[in-house]
Amino acid sequence: DAMVIQNPRYQVTQFGKPVTLSCSQTLNHNVMYWYQQKSSQAPKLLFHYYDKDFNNEADTPDNFQSRRPNTSFCFLDIRSPGLGDAAMYLCATSRDAAGGMNGYTFGSGTRLTVV
């Protein structure tokens, strides 16, 4: 089945130690998104890629970076994780930049713990 896969499911990192979360998709969608979701809150968009074009949300901290080496993969890099960065990180895809009637397809998420 076509899907969005996030690895790892759970990630523990030390305060200040760089960490990378990964997302892959078999849907061949043009757009990939990274969301941060804290407990019982709505997901907050960090950035998205339309093909190779990177689009950062205005309030996304510089501590968060992303890479998309090809259509299938997208990575979220947190350069110096703080305690406040502990959250669920969701990857999503959409066929095109209009979102459209199919909405977004989400991965299962990576729960990041910072110790």
Partner: protein, 115 residues
């Protein structure tokens, strides 16, 4: 700016009964899509139902149906014959049918189902 409001942080329903989750949104667009997403405790966001703004007919997917009131900018979700597996966070979401716009989520409603 577009906003999506879910006024019920928590709802509970008895198994086999019907429950309605509320959602209102604010937009100046006329062509857009609305969605309800379900996020169970396993945390993968799953699309439950979608509505196209230019369709007057309310969308229905098995036990899930919506009451779409375009003039009132209201988009409620009705779950009939509630099952234990319906227990989850439910997010209402909106996206205009234009390039470059992102999915906007409401704050979510936690639905509990009592046996």
């Amino acid at each position: 700016a577009q906003t999506v409001t879910q006024s019920q942080p928590e709802m509970s329903v008895q198994e086999a009964e019907t429950v309605t989750l509320s959602c209102t949104y604010d937009t100046s667009e006329s062509d857009y899509y609305l969605f309800w997403y379900k996020q169970p405790p396993s945390r993968q966001m799953i699309l439950v139902i979608r509505q196209e703004a230019y369709k007057q007919q309310n969308a229905t997917e098995n036990r899930f149906s919506v009451n779409f009131q375009k003039a009132a900018k209201s988009f409620s979700l009705k779950i009939s014959d509630s099952q234990l597996g319906d227990a989850a966070m439910y997010f209402c979401a909106y996206i205009p049918n234009t390039l470059g716009n992102m999915l906007t989520f409401g704050g979510g409603t936690r639905l509990m189902v009592k046996p």
